[in-house]
């Protein structure tokens, strides 16, 4: 455990190595989005989303420049600890960012400077009859933050998995693949809705959508959507755990 924490510290030090380091850039962006997020809450979600896309490539870039991949060869740490530390650090950074985002969101709701929450409230009350959503306005924003965080965790775990399996060269490919998958998901979701709204009768699609909608609304009922958030994050952290375990196998059996 101590070794894992030391590797994390080493990675954080590497981030601060340059005058205008990645760590500083991240902090500036983070503080800026928090301040602006109070004024306009979607900015927090945008920052979280951007973080989920860029965190791993940026981190790997630094690792590469500082020879971080060979840490286990020069320090008394194992490859397994190396993998766990990298997964741990990325997950902690994203989780802390997500947690702070929730707090800022609550402040933004209390102040409601931009009037976003008022608009959401009106939208929510008119939509709730149709969608049977049982979440209030803060719950809706919190759910979006949660889903963004969950997406970030999934995406980062996928990228790290590729990195530990095939090395840095694969990261660019996996980033491109990730973006492609993301676009594909959006296109697929749009296609599904268009098919549902059109005159086409695709029973299996209809049934699948119905199951998803049923589970989504059922999970949104208790604790103002918190159960849905826990469910989404539970799946995401489970995936990170799974990918980390797989990466240990990949990394240990890889020729370096």
């Amino acid at each position: 455990m101590k070794n894992i924490l030391n590797i994390m510290r080493l990675d954080l030090t590497a981030m601060r190595a340059k005058r205008f380091s990645l760590g500083k850039a991240f902090l500036i962006m983070f503080v800026l989005s928090l301040v602006l997020g109070v004024l306009f809450p979607p900015l927090i979600i945008a920052f979280l989303f951007a973080l989920s896309l860029t965190a791993v490539p940026a981190f790997i870039d630094i690792e590469d420049k500082n020879g971080g991949e060979m840490t286990f060869a020069v320090l008394p740490v194992t490859r397994k600890q190396n993998v766990i530390a990298r997964y741990g650090l990325i997950t902690i950074v994203q989780t802390v960012t997500g947690a702070v985002s929730f707090i800022v969101l609550k402040i933004a709701q209390i102040l409601d400077i931009s009037g976003m929450f008022r608009v959401t409230s009106e939208l929510n009350s008119s939509l709730s009859d149709v969608l049977d959503l049982k979440i209030n306005d803060y719950g809706i924003f919190a759910l979006i933050v949660c889903l963004t965080l969950a997406y970030g965790l999934f995406y980062s775990a996928l990228q790290l998995g590729g990195y530990f399996k095939r090395g840095k060269g694969s990261t660019k490919k996996s980033t491109a693949r990730g973006v492609f998958i993301l676009v594909l998901v959006y296109v697929a979701v749009a296609a599904v809705f268009i098919i549902e709204a059109s005159s086409l009768n695709v029973q299996i699609l209809h049934s699948a959508l119905m199951v998803l909608a049923t589970l989504f609304t059922a999970l949104s009922a208790p604790f103002n959507g918190a159960l849905l958030c826990i469910f989404a994050l539970g799946c995401a952290y489970g995936f990170v755990f799974y990918k980390a375990a797989c990466s240990v196998i990949d990394y240990e059996s890889r020729e370096l």
Binding site: S128, K134, N136, I194, A197, S198, S199, L200, N201, Q203, S207, A208, M210, V211, T214, L215, T217, A218, L219, A221, P222, F223, L227, I230, F231, G234, C235, G238, F239, F241, Y242, A245, C246, I249, S253
Partner: protein, 618 residues
């Protein structure tokens, strides 16, 4: 000349006298109005104005598929309208010969039949129906209390929604009513007489009681005692329309449509012929004229369906009331809706059509509507209020207007509250926190949002509940724990997928060797995944309105999977426990073992609590 003049004067006088006598009658004719205040003569214009049918007529199918409406006063039809098409593809317009499915309006025929037998002294509404049924017919009763015909009429027999499908698309699979009832007997989850829970099965059982008492096939009984008496030649009641060849042929000219967001506005679902095995609860089909004839019988002073007028009076005297008031919620199976006037009737919906029948017995004004559109159509749903006016809830107030907080989670009585679909009732809760508070207007009568009327429930277990039409909502204080358990069940299944994928990967790299403990745990993970997948299949079936339930084979397989799941998970938990206590395992192995035991215990708890294994008696 003189005579001619006299004749002319006499003729003029006679004409004047006739005019003078006739004028008030004609004027009275013109002044006759619906309860909402619309003159009968203006109904056509009102329909056009309110629903802008002129505009729609340019392309009616853009706004509704097919739609028919009849408004009557006593035995006179005062408005009749046919709009759109029964088959858009073949351009068959709606008309007098169009046959639609009446859905649950069919149930009222059972209630009429029961009242006919009651007035003949052959059926006691308050006797236990088991006195009329063959011995041991009801196999899964939970309560010993008698179930009466009155309970069936009021939907208070105690049964929840059926698990197994009550309809089929293959007419060769139709069985006798008795067999269909026994195949689909649902769980009895409430004490008889306590909880209102609309039940197709209960209504069909009532029809079977009619069969047993009358000694006739139910369809034959209805033909002889309702259709023939009223001259309803264009109506059928049998599941496959086999009792009326004309209706069967006409039904082939009807397609069903659902609303579309994108053009074309209506999506064809085809003919959607679904044969209802429990046919008395929803198989009637016929023309709108016949439906109007049937409805008109209930406002007639002659009470043509009964030997004594008093029987009809009793039928509409109310049998279930809001709280402790005398305001009826339903009346011997007929729904009661308070508009500007008190109306009686029933609506209906099948997989192909929707229908409505409402009448005011005071003014004798009534309306019937039929459509081949299964999605909600606000144009059609606005008609009752247009005819009968808006309800002024103030008239029911006893002067009090104290507020009562309405919070927490409520479950709907008309859902699967027992058997392998029990978990689905937790997927559609009523979240009261987001509703306005209740306002007490009378003893046990509440309003919500100034519109909806709720009657206080009367459960012996003290559970807070409210009656809403033919169903209840009851407060479930354990709901957050229940849905959390269900979420945990699914999240463990997802976790099992990750673990299994990891094991496959590790095994390929030679990093995983299967031990006895590991094999048991893997089996546990696999069965959890299968169990969750089976649960999702059930959710999909429940959501498919065309099936009205789950096929028996699917239910049995699902139940067996979950029985195996309990056994395998128990085995996996035991194996993990053995692994923990063995000296060989390190602290991480012990932690994994503990997590495994917890996951298995949670899944067993979920399967047992939600009765996912119980494929019988539901």
């Amino acid at each position: 000349m003189k005579n001619t003049l006299k004749r002319c004067i006499s003729a003029l006088l006679a004409a004047g006298t006739l005019l003078a006598l006739a004028a008030p009658t004609a004027m009275a004719e013109d002044e006759r109005r619906t309860p909402s205040g619309i003159k009968f003569a203006d109904l056509e214009k009102k329909f056009d104005d309110e629903f802008n049918f002129d505009k729609y007529a340019t392309d009616p199918v853009e706004y509704y598929a097919g739609f028919e409406a009849v408004v009557f006063c006593g035995d006179e039809i005062v408005y009749e309208g046919y709009f759109g098409e029964t088959d858009r593809e073949r351009h068959i317009p709606c008309g007098e010969d169009s046959v639609f499915e009446w859905g649950s309006i069919s149930k009222t025929m059972t209630w009429v039949s029961a009242m006919q037998l009651w007035e003949q002294g052959r059926l006691d509404l308050d006797a236990d129906i088991r006195d009329y049924l063959p011995d041991g017919f009801l196999r899964y009763l939970r309560y010993d209390e008698p179930i009466t015909m009155q309970n069936l009429m009021d939907h208070t027999g105690g049964w929840c929604e059926t698990t197994y499908n009550i309809s089929t698309t293959d007419s060769s699979k139709l069985t006798t009513l008795a067999e269909a009832l026994q195949e689909t007997e649902p769980a009895q989850v409430n004490r008889p007489g306590e909880v209102v829970s609309y039940s197709n099965w209960g209504a069909a059982l009532a029809a079977y009681v009619v069969e047993c008492v009358s000694g006739m096939d139910y369809a034959d009984y209805v033909h002889e005692n309702i259709f023939d008496r009223l001259g309803m030649e264009h109506t059928s009641i049998a599941a496959d329309f086999s009792d009326n060849e004309w209706v069967r042929e006409q039904r082939d000219n009807l397609c069903s449509y659902t609303f579309n967001v994108l053009p074309p506005k209506y999506k064809s679902d085809g003919k959607r012929i679904s044969y209802i095995k429990l046919y008395p609860c929803g198989s009637a089909a016929g023309t709108i004229r016949d439906l109007a004839t049937y409805a008109q019988a209930f406002v007639s002073d002659d009470a043509p369906l009964f030997e004594h007028r008093e029987t009809q009076e009793k039928l509409f005297s109310g049998s279930l009331f809001y709280g402790n008031t005398d305001i009826p919620l339903s009346s011997y199976g007929f729904g009661v809706t308070e508009y500007k006037v008190r109306t009686f009737g029933h609506d209906g919906a099948t997989v192909a059509c929707r229908s409505n029948m409402i009448f005011d017995r005071e003014s004798k004004v009534g309306m019937v509507t039929l459509t081949n559109e299964t999605s909600t159509n606000l144009v059609i749903e606005g008609i009752p209020k247009m005819i009968f006016g808006s309800c002024d809830l103030e008239k029911y107030s006893d002067g009090s207007s104290e507020e009562r907080s309405f919070d927490g989670y409520y479950l709907i009585s008309r859902s699967n509250r027992g058997g392998l679909l029990r978990f689905t009732s937790c997927l559609t809760p009523v979240c009261a926190d987001r509703q306005p508070d209740l306002v007490r207007v009378n003893d046990g009568l509440y309003t919500i949002g100034g519109e909806l009327m709720l009657g206080e429930g009367r459960r012996s277990d003290g559970r807070e509940s409210f009656m809403l039409g033919a169903m209840e909502i009851d407060r479930d204080k354990a709901y957050p724990a229940e849905i959390s358990l269900l979420a945990l069940y699914f999240i463990i299944a997802i976790g099992s997928v990750f673990v299994l994928m990891y094991k496959v990967k590790a095994a390929r790299r030679g990093r995983y060797s299967l031990t006895a403990v590991g094999a048991a745990q893997t089996a546990g993970q696999l069965i959890k995944l299968i169990s969750a997948a089976a649960a999702i299949v059930l959710i999909a079936y429940v959501g498919r309105e065309a099936s009205y339930g789950v096929p028996k084979a699917v239910g049995v397989v699902d139940g067996i999977v979950n029985l195996v799941c309990i056994a395998v998970c128990a085995g996996a938990a035991t194996a993990s426990l053995i692994g923990i206590v063995s000296k060989k395992s390190d602290k991480w192995a012990k932690l994994r073992g503990a997590v495994n035991i917890a996951a298995n215990a949670a899944v067993i708890a979920a399967v047992l609590y939600f009765e996912m294994y119980r494929f019988w008696g539901c």
